[in-house]
Homo-oligomer: 111 residues x 2
Amino acid sequence: MKRRRTYVCGLDAAFGVVGGKWKALLLWELDQGVRRFGELRRALEGISEKMLIQQLREMEHDGLVHREVFREVPPRVEYSLTDFGRSLNKAMEPLGDWGEEHKARIEALHL
Amino acid sequence: MKRRRTYVCGLDAAFGVVGGKWKALLLWELDQGVRRFGELRRALEGISEKMLIQQLREMEHDGLVHREVFREVPPRVEYSLTDFGRSLNKAMEPLGDWGEEHKARIEALHL
DNA sequence: TCCGATTCTTACCTTTTGGTGAGTACCCGA
DNA sequence: TCGGGTACTCACCAAAAGGTAAGAATCGGA
């Protein structure tokens, strides 16, 4: 999602960093624990490698995700949430609960 | 934002209805009170009429927004939140607070 | 020597989203 | 008769997001 230069309110700013199709899902998955690239790819069914890296890089740049490279062969890279990322995930919990509660209704809308 | 047919978690479902560039802002604005079309257009600086209607229609379809037409001349249409819409807005409050708290940091990222 | 595993990287293309500008319909008042 | 105000609607185009598929680098093991 293209960013605004300035945000009109907090919600707007928050959507600046978790907007798009995959970031909220990544945040949730990484909140469960440290994950390797391949694990994330398998966890987010349907994501392409290109998108996965792109999103991870942006989240790293935004300070939500920490990336650690182990110089092994084959290469190993581990992704985890920073404190900042964890705080965001926590702030999204009520929204997740709301969605859980109304999931069926929302899915029924476009059948 | 294009919808998934099914959602993998509650957060995913919630993003299904508030995803995109404008809906969260509209929800917030309508939570302040009943608004006419023109008022919303002026409140969401930069939105085009086409986008505004499109988003409002989708939110109406999703049961978040109520639309009431007054058969007057010139025409008057009032938009307001449904209970469902208000419950969603409430669930987003912590996220809004988080964004408010970190707004400066987030804006500073892409300068 | 060739294959497999893993994490990317790149070029190219399609789909989706968003913007522009014009037009419609209505009635009122100047 | 003409312009103004309101809430759209439409056709067309541009920008952004997202997908596909191929390739690169590395080393160990068959």
